[in-house]
Chain length 159, copies 2
DNA sequence: ATCCGTGCAAATGATTTGCAAGTCG
DNA sequence: CGACTTGCAAATCATTTGCACGGAT
């Protein structure tokens, strides 16, 4: 944890930005809630718990900065807000998401899975792929199990 | 063209909505600019050319309605606006996009390309895929050619 | 002193909503 | 009549910006 913070500090310095207390608090919240896909407001509220003096605008500015430096990715699931997601350690590419249309949960997929598809796109459309965004919408494992409870599966469910 | 409009009219009626003149004008604009990824404002301006009395709110309401009925897809490329894209005739799935990070152009890919990936996701994550959204960010063919002009490629480009 | 970074409040821009009036079966 | 639609203006919500102050070099 601490070493990831150190690394981010170096990345900031490399572009001559400082890791101010506000920025550090913001990054810490991101690190501590890595799998949560927080919105700017979410981050703001969490940062505020430990550093009540911080302003919302500062959080926005910090998230924008981190996005520029590709330390986080700004994502959008179609609700009205942007969400911010830390990049994995050495990930060249963005990771994928599984959004459940029933319970709204979001799972992450770290595996690339798109190597083959990218080759096809580069060949067939002559498009030089730099990054991608892939989201699947569907029903998560938990919700599927919920359904089975309601309507218990028999050997021969049809009719 | 006309038959697609007819089809949409039926889809509306099936959910007991009418194809009012305003809605028809909006749908026509979408049909006539099918590959353009128009924002609500874009649609509004285009509709206004032929039907100046229409209100922006009506366009928003129509687009929302069409989205609900899955006649169009609401997409978001990360600029501040939502864009609206007609679904292909019988497409169960959403088509993909190639967004050029240099000139901003957007190409569409109708091919699925994700069959294999979806099988993996369903197996490995036990996630029942219903739809997907895939966008590649990179450099389009035209912009690549622009680069070659500036810096003509020799047999041995290095050094 | 100079810059960078911050907080606050005001501004912006996209989208939504309330409501009174219109349409059409 | 009565449900569905509309246009307009006002409201809302996320995000951005202007600006004067504060802290570090």
């Amino acid at each position: 944890m601490e070493n990831r913070l150190e690394k981010i500090k170096k990345q900031l310095h490399a572009s001559s930005y400082k890791l101010t207390p506000q920025r550090e608090a913001t990054v810490r919240v991101l690190l501590e809630n890595e799998s949560d896909h927080l919105s700017a407001e979410d981050v703001y509220l969490l940062v505020k718990e430990k550093s009540p003096e911080i302003g919302l605008a500062t959080v926005y500015r910090t998230l924008e900065l981190l996005t520029e430096l590709k330390i986080v990715d700004k994502i959008n699931f179609g609700d009205g807000v942007s969400r911010y997601d830390l990049r994995q350690e050495g990930a060249a590419h963005f990771h994928h998401h599984l959004v459940c249309i029933e319970c709204g949960s979001v799972e992450e997929i770290q595996e690339d899975l798109l190597e083959d598809v990218e080759v096809i796109v580069e060949k067939r459309w002559k498009f030089q792929v730099k990054d991608h965004r892939l989201t699947f919408h569907g029903i998560c494992h938990r919700c599927q199990k919920e359904h089975e409870k309601e309507k218990p599966k028999t050997k021969n469910a049809s009719i």
